[in-house]
C-alpha cells in the first residue's frame, strides 16, 4: 500500500464525554409524551427535581421533527427542528424523554443544518443533549443511589430498549443498569430482545402488515417471560407493543421508565 489508511478513532462506539452535575436542565417531553404520556413527563420532571435540579420546560417546545425527516420531507423537518433550536437555546443540558427523538437531535440535526445559518447552533445543541436514562446514569449516577428506593416490592419486569437508544445512542446498558439496581425488581430478558418492535414511525402505517407482524412477535416474546410489567423509555415502542398485547388479550401493565423510577424511588407518582 502506498499511502497509509487513516482510521477515524472517533467512529464506532467511543463513549461520549459527560459534564458534571448541572444546576438546571431543560426537559423535552416530545409530542408523543405531550398527548399520550403526560403523566410520565411529570414523573420525569419530579424525578429530576428530587435530584436537586432546576427543571426548565419551555412552553415553546413541540416535536423534534423526526416524522417528516424519516419520511424524506427534509424542509418540513428543518422547519420544526428550527423551533426546537430556539426553544432550547440557553447553554444548559437538554434531557429528552425518548431515545429516537434524542437520536434525531444529536445525530441528525447537525446533518439537517449543515451549511445553514443554524449549523453551529445545531452542533452545540447536539453536544448538550442527553437521553433520559443516559443522563440519569452518566451525569447524575442515579443507579448508585437506588438502594434507598421506598418501594422495594417484588416485581417481574421486562425492559424494552428502543433501537435508537440501543444502536444510534448506545445507551441500552444504562437502561439495564438502572433496572438491575432497583431493589425488588427481577429483570427478565425476552427472546430476541434487541430486535425492533416494528414501530418505526410512519413505517407502521406505510407497511402496516410487516409492522403488525413484528409487533406481534415482540408482544409474544414479552408475554412469554411472564413479566408483570413492561417498561421502556420510548413511548412509540410502548404504544406499539402494549397496544398489540392488549389486542391479543395478554396485556400487562406498561409504563415509561421515568414513571417506574419515580414510583419506586419516592413511593408515589405514576399519575398526574
Amino acid at each position: 500500500m502506498n499511502e497509509p489508511l487513516f482510521v477515524d478513532a472517533a467512529s464506532g462506539s467511543a463513549r461520549r464525554q459527560y459534564p458534571g452535575r448541572p444546576s438546571a436542565v431543560y426537559l423535552m417531553g416530545t409530542c408523543l409524551v405531550d398527548g399520550f404520556y403526560a403523566d410520565a413527563g411529570l414523573d420525569a420532571i419530579r424525578l429530576l427535581q428530587a435530584e436537586g435540579l432546576e427543571v426548565i420546560f419551555p412552553q415553546s417546545q413541540t416535536c423534534c421533527g423526526q416524522p417528516a425527516y424519516n419520511s424524506g420531507y427534509d424542509d418540513e423537518a428543518r422547519r420544526v427542528a428550527r423551533q426546537q433550536l430556539q426553544a432550547f437555546a440557553a447553554d444548559i443540558p437538554l434531557v429528552v424523554m425518548m431515545g429516537s427523538c434524542t437520536g434525531m437531535m444529536i445525530k441528525e440535526y447537525p446533518q439537517l443544518f449543515a451549511g445553514q445559518p443554524e449549523e453551529q447552533q445545531a452542533l452545540d445543541l447536539a453536544a448538550r443533549t442527553f437521553e433520559l436514562g443516559e443522563f440519569l446514569v452518566n451525569v447524575l449516577q442515579l443507579h448508585t443511589r437506588l438502594a434507598e428506593a421506598q418501594d422495594q416490592s417484588a416485581m417481574r419486569l421486562a425492559l424494552h430498549v428502543s433501537c435508537s437508544s440501543r444502536r444510534s445512542l448506545g445507551v441500552a446498558e444504562d437502561h439495564q443498569t438502572l433496572m438491575q439496581n432497583l431493589p425488588g425488581v427481577h429483570l427478565v430478558e425476552p427472546q430476541r430482545a434487541s430486535e425492533c418492535c416494528g414501530f418505526g414511525g410512519t413505517f407502521a402505517v406505510k407497511q402496516a402488515d410487516i409492522s403488525a407482524t413484528m409487533a406481534a412477535d415482540k408482544a409474544s416474546a414479552i408475554a412469554d417471560t411472564g413479566a408483570q410489567r413492561l417498561v421502556s423509555a420510548d413511548c412509540g415502542c410502548l404504544m406499539n407493543i402494549s397496544g398489540t398485547m392488549k389486542k391479543q388479550g395478554k396485556g400487562i401493565a406498561s409504563q415509561h421508565l421515568a414513571s417506574l423510577l419515580y414510583q419506586r424511588l419516592h413511593g408515589q407518582g405514576g399519575q398526574a
Binding site: 502506498n2 487513516f6 464506532g12 405531550d34 404520556y37 418540513e76 423551533q83 433501537c163
Partner: protein, 516 residues
Amino acid sequence: MSTQTREQMQQQLDQEQHDFSDMQSRHFSVRARMALENEALRKSFRGASDFLMNKRRSVFSDDNALQSLRDRGEAIRQYSLSKLPQLLETLEKNLTANGIQVHWAETATEACEIIHGILADNNARTVVKGKSMVTEEIELNHYLEEKGIECLESDMGEYLVQLAGETPSHIIMPAIHKNTAQIARLMHGRAQSSSGEPVPYTEDVDELIGNARAILREKFEKADAGISGVNMAVANTGTLCLVENEGNGRMTTTVPDLHIAVTGIEKVVEDFSHVPELLTLLTRSATGQKISTYFNMISAPRKAGELDGPQQVHLVLVDNGRSKIFSHPTLKPTLQCIRCGACMNHCPVYARIGGHAYGSTYPGPIGQVVTPQIGGLEKHGDMVSACSLNGACGEACPVRIPLPALIRELRHEANRIPTRDDSAVSGQGVKRSASEALIWRGWALAHSSPWLFRTMMWLLTRSRPLFRTALVTRLLSPWTDSRTTPLPQTKTLHELARAHGVASELKSHNETGAQR
C-alpha cells in the same frame, strides 16, 4: 419417503413456479403480504436469520477487535473508491499484461452482448456458471438462453433456484427459502442425469448434494465456457479473487477452455495488502466462517507447459449505474459493499418477508439501497418504505455502510421536488403526491408554531372520550387493526408543567451552565 408420485411432484413444482411468477408480477405490498401469510416461508427465513446471526456472533466474540476491523474495512473500501478511476486503469493495464482480456460494459444489455460476443467467437454452446450476483443483475442467463446457449448454474443453491425456475432469495444463500422436503421434491421431479434419467427421491441432505454433484461433474467436463463473478480485483497485480465454499468456482474457472469473469466496477482494490482484512470480514460476516473453503486467485490464462487452466480469460467490468452512484454526494457509500449479506441476515423485515418480496436481484437493506439507484425509483420506489430504520443492518455491515441513513436519503429523493441535476437518482420525486406533501406542510406549520401546537394537543386531550368510540378506532386503521386504540391523557404535559409551576425559561444565565 414421500407419498407423492413423480408426476404429482412435477405438477406441484409447476404450480409453485407459476405462483412464483405470479407473485413477482404483483405490487410490493402485495408481495410482502403474500410472504407474511406463507408460514413455511417465514419459518425458513426466521430460522436462517437466527442461525446466521449466531454464527457471525460466534466468530466475532471480541467486540473491540470487531469494531477496529470494521474501521479498517471501511477505510480500505473508501480508499479504493477515492481512487476508483485510477485503480480501474491500473487494473486493466496489469490484467492485460497478464494475458487477461478486459471489456467495459456501460449497461446490463451491453454486458450481455459482450459476453455473448466472446462465447460466439469461440463457438461456445454450453456454459457452466459459478455463483455471481452481477450476472443475476444483468439477467445473463435469460439473455444467453434466448440466443440458444445453455447456461447451467453450478453453485448448489443457484442450481436449485434455476431448477425451480425462480430467482435467488439471498445474495449468499440463494435457495435459503426452500426447506429439505421442497428440495427433495425438486431434485426428484426435475433434475436429470445426462442420459435423461431422473434422480432417486431422497430427503437425505448428503445424498441430495451427491446427486447434484454427479450431474454437475459431467457438465463441467463438457462445458465450452465457464462464467464466474469476482469478489475482489487487485489492481497492482492484476489478480481476480474469488471466494467460495463448494469448489464449483474453481471448476468453473479452470476446467473449460474459456473463462469469462464478470464484475461491477466497484470491486477493485489497490493492493494485495488490502485483501486479507476484507476477506476476513467477508467470510465471517456472511457465514460465520473464519475462512471460506476455497479462495481462488486468478492471474492469467494457462501458460505454456501448464497442465490445466483455461486458454482464455476475460474480465467484463460492468457499470450499470455505478458511475452515477459514484458521483452522488451522499449515496456514494453504497459502492463500499462487499456483498456479504449480513445486512439481510440481521434485518427484521427481511426475516419476515424473505428475499423474493423485494422483487429485485438484491434484497434486504443493501437491496433497498442499490436497487432503486440501478433500476430507478419509478420501479423500485416502494421498497424504501419497508424499513423501520432500526439500524440492525448498519450495525452488522462489515464496511460500515450507513444503510439506514441511505434508505432515508432515498425516501427524500423519492419525495422531493425533482432537481434535475445529473447526480439525481432516476425517478427522483416520483413518490411525491400533492396530498401527502400538503399533509406534511400542514404538519410542519402546526409543529413550528408553539401556540398552534399547544392548541392542537389541548384539543387532542379534550377529545379523549372520542378515542373510546368505534369511529376513531376505524379512523386510526391500519394502526388499530392489530393494536388497541391509544388513549390520550386528560391534560397535556405543557399544561401539567405550567400547573406545577415548572419554569418555561431559564431566569439567570450566569448561575447555570457554569458547572458544565
